[in-house]
């Protein structure tokens, strides 16, 4: 299995591109740093007992007046910015992955049904997708957020906020996957191996799952990777606007919003470092997605 992988074209094209290798390393560092933050972060920014207001507004360690305990400085409440970024990246990545997974599941299922069944089902699902595409994710998030706030008691808002963001981002991105999968399914369903399965008398469900699905997933992997970067950005946007994740679980977007208040009073590091972290993370994932798209496209080889 490992041999197969290292012999493959994908691995070969991976080793040929420095940009790809670097972005893979950077993405790996981001993901590990985020996932392992409770163990490797220098401080726990949510542990109120460890936070000292006397440490507030400390500049980064490398600049004048910096403190070696806080490599990237501290915020207005004396929390370590580096630790906050690591914890924040965890939330950002969680939302990004979950929203993309949700969009993939929904989009692939509906695209497969639309493409294979055709006719009315196809027309109906694709028109829903068209309507969906006319709503920006921010509008969807605001809408759902508003409904949730009106319908649920106050205490539950924070608990459910994370799911609202995941749902809002996922729901606004499924049409991309549905359209791609529908297109590939339309090609595959008339291929002779599908006809052979129909001659045997296999049911539609079995044909869709066992024959068509494995053959339409290639492009989904590529769009999924590129979409991960978009979902992280969308979450940051929503959190920046205050309709994203709850303030008790700040993501990178939330950190940027908090820090924004101090940008013009000189404490630039509170907002700049989370912003840089976001840019690096999104860029590396995007570059990986670009490479994957090229590597899986035989016409570009």
């Amino acid at each position: 299995m490992m041999r197969r992988f290292f012999d493959s074209d994908i691995w070969w094209s991976f080793t040929r591109s420095w940009v790809t290798i670097i972005s893979a390393i950077v993405a790996a560092i981001c993901i590990f740093g985020a996932v392992l933050s409770p163990w490797i972060a220098p401080h726990n920014p949510f542990d109120l007992t460890s936070i000292d207001l006397m440490d507030a507004f400390k500049p980064p360690a490398f600049s004048e007046g910096g403190d070696a305990r806080f490599p990237l400085g501290t915020d207005n409440q004396g929390r370590d910015v580096l630790s906050a970024i690591m914890y924040g990246a965890q939330v950002s990545l969680l939302v990004g992955f979950a929203a993309t997974l949700f969009a993939v599941l929904l989009g692939v299922t509906l695209g497969l049904l639309a493409g294979y069944l055709g006719g009315t089902v196809d027309a109906l699902l694709m028109r829903i997708a068209d309507i969906q595409l006319t709503f920006p994710s921010i509008l969807v998030a605001l809408l759902i957020d508003g409904i949730v706030r009106a319908a649920l008691p106050r205490e539950m808002h924070d608990q459910i906020a994370l799911y609202v963001v995941i749902f809002a981002i996922g729901i606004s991105e499924w049409p991309k996957f549905a359209r791609t999968v529908r297109g590939s399914t339309l090609v595959e369903r008339n291929k002779e191996y599908v006809l052979a399965a129909r001659v045997i008398g296999l049911g539609q469900g079995a044909i869709m799952l066992r024959h068509v699905l494995p053959n339409v997933l290639g492009p989904v992997l590529v769009i999924g990777t590129l979409n991960l970067a978009l979902a992280i950005l969308a979450e940051a946007t929503l959190s920046f606007l205050g309709v994203g994740v709850p303030p008790t679980q700040p993501s990178l977007g939330t950190l940027i919003r908090f820090g924004n208040d101090y940008l013009f009073s000189g404490e630039w590091w509170i907002t700049i470092f989370p912003g840089l972290a976001l840019i690096i993370m999104v860029l590396s994932v995007n570059l990986l997605g670009d490479w994957l798209r090229d590597a899986l496209n035989p016409k570009l080889r």
């Binding site: 002779e192 006809l195 399965a197 001659v199 008398g201």
Partner: protein, 329 residues
Amino acid sequence: MTETPMLETRDLARFFDVSRPPLQRLLAREGKRTLRAVDGVSFSIPKGTTLSLVGESGCGKSTVARLVVGLYSASRGDVRFDGQDLHAARRDPAQRSRMQMIFQDPYASLNPRWRVLDIIAEPIRAFGLVKGDAAQRERVAELLTQVGLSPLDGVKFPHEFSGGQRQRISIARALSSNPEFLVCDEPTSALDVSVQAQILNLMKELQSRLGLTFLFISHNLAVVRQVSDRVGVMYLGRIVEMAPAETLFTSPRHPYTRALMEAIPDLEMSGRQRMPVGGEVPSPIDPPSGCAFHPRCPLANDRCRAERPELKAHALTETACHAVEEGRG
């Protein structure tokens, strides 16, 4: 003959709706458009024999192939499989397993994500023919050997094989449910000439060993002559001539069949004068009145333009032609 034929069709027809979307149709003020791919085809295939259908592209021969295995439903007429209605037979797995199909494109007829082993075993699993993994592997190995491949090839993927080898895999898959009736839709037209002969020999050998009945679809007359017992010539969705293979090739009667025969390259007669067939195959959306071949036929007269000829028997041959019937030809 008292034995029930393996397959029998009566007045089989299939129309496709090729209208434009309703709104455009309304704006252009045009009606629905129907493509009459197959329009009244009747034949029967006795058990253990091969019937071939030949014709140019678009004459409806592949549609007939798909109709008789139930991939399309008939717009008119019926198909009887071993004496039973095709739809009833398709609902019963035991009957369904008796018919299989081999396709034209060896590159599209095997799922690229599956191992050959799984491809061939699919019908076995679907019909629950063999119990247990070991017995199933054994059966697949046996099938691979039967079509001239190695049992070790089972673990490979389709892209590791050549076109001819893939067609052998297709045949192995078709044979895995122990079918009695095989529909072959241009099984050799995507292959090199040398490989074509190998595949045809394999199919003939399997037919004599397993007593298979074939419906063979092809546009290649040389191939058809090699494999068939009877041959039906199709033109624009209808059979224009049907005869035992040798009779058809030695004494073709319908003007269209004769034109086809004329077009076969021939070593001994190279450089001879040919009778060309003028014009193109007319559109099956708007077929000519009367005999569909009349715009291209050298023998056509007013009757041909007005009245559609029916298939009528003359000795061993059945032809649908006024000229042949009247002795003009």
